[in-house]
């Protein structure tokens, strides 16, 4: 069995979204929410936990696919899990420069 932390059904059928702050590393954040919860609300709760707001250039992505989470903000978490990011494991980072 993998030791990866992935989404799992908790009592009450809540889902767990595991969010890695890939800028700083460390233990990932966890947000628990029901499948009917809008993804936007999960994002808002994550930012509240970070005690900061969304900034230009912030990136939030499904770790397995690299797909942008913000573009799914209006979907229900359960639908999003079924169609876009099965493991509900996200990465978060702030802007990066380069060329």
């Amino acid at each position: 069995m993998s030791n990866h932390q992935t989404a799992e059904a908790a009592p009450g059928k809540d889902l767990t979204v595991v969010i890695h702050d890939e800028d700083s590393g460390g233990q990932p954040h966890q947000v628990h929410a029901g499948p009917g919860t809008p993804v936007r609300e999960v994002i808002d709760r994550f930012y509240k936990e970070l005690a900061t707001g969304r900034q230009d250039g912030d990136r939030l992505y499904c770790l397995a696919t690299g797909q942008n989470v913000f573009s799914h903000a209006e979907e229900h978490l359960g639908d999003y899990q079924n169609t876009s990011c099965t493991a509900l494991e996200w990465g978060f980072s702030r802007p990066t420069g380069g060329a």
Partner: protein
């Protein structure tokens, strides 16, 4: 601001702590990742690159902690010679990736970059690589490496994102060296 070398013991301890953290809690715990320590300040990290068809190629990135973590680690794609030495990878070999510059953030790979000090060597060009700050590039304030916020996790995670389809095509060639 001119980079200054960090006390080697302090740099090594911080570097090791952050790398352990990355391999325990971050992407490094996934398949295809491993860490090969060269000395207290230098580590080679094997990381997986994923093509559009799902094929996984492994690359080796040498990280240096001489300025860590006030500055990001030095970064270079490397290959191992028959004598066991790690040397910079060249374009056209299977150790240098063919990568499109569109991973959702600014990122560039320059196999032979002319630095202001006249040296010509590799540049893995993004603001979480030390050599970026030695090149003629300038990061906007929100993009700069922040001591106390960024760790080697930021460096390795960005490279992993850049080396994932559709941003990653495959090795730049078939040659070994």
């Amino acid at each position: 601001m001119t980079p200054e070398l960090i006390d080697p013991e302090v740099a090594a301890a911080t570097f090791d702590t952050h790398l352990r953290d990355f391999f325990t809690s971050g992407r490094g715990r996934g398949e295809g990742w491993c860490r090969i320590d060269l000395d207290d300040l230098h580590t080679v990290v094997q990381l997986p690159a994923v093509r559009e068809n799902g094929t996984v190629d492994c690359y080796f990135v040498r990280l240096g902690a001489e300025y860590y973590d006030v500055w990001p680690p030095t970064v270079a794609f490397v290959r191992k010679t028959q004598t066991g030495e790690w040397v910079e990878a060249a374009e056209g070999t299977r150790w240098w990736p063919n990568q499109r510059n569109a991973p959702g953030f600014s990122f560039g790979l320059h196999p032979r970059y002319a630095y202001p000090d006249q040296s010509i060597r590799q540049l893995v060009c993004f603001s979480h690589s030390f050599d970026y700050y030695l090149s003629s590039h300038t990061a906007n304030d929100p993009e700069r490496w922040r001591h106390g916020t960024h760790t080697v996790s930021a460096t390795l995670s960005r490279i992993a994102q850049a080396l994932h389809a559709p941003n990653y095509i495959g090795p730049s060639g078939d040659r070994d060296s």
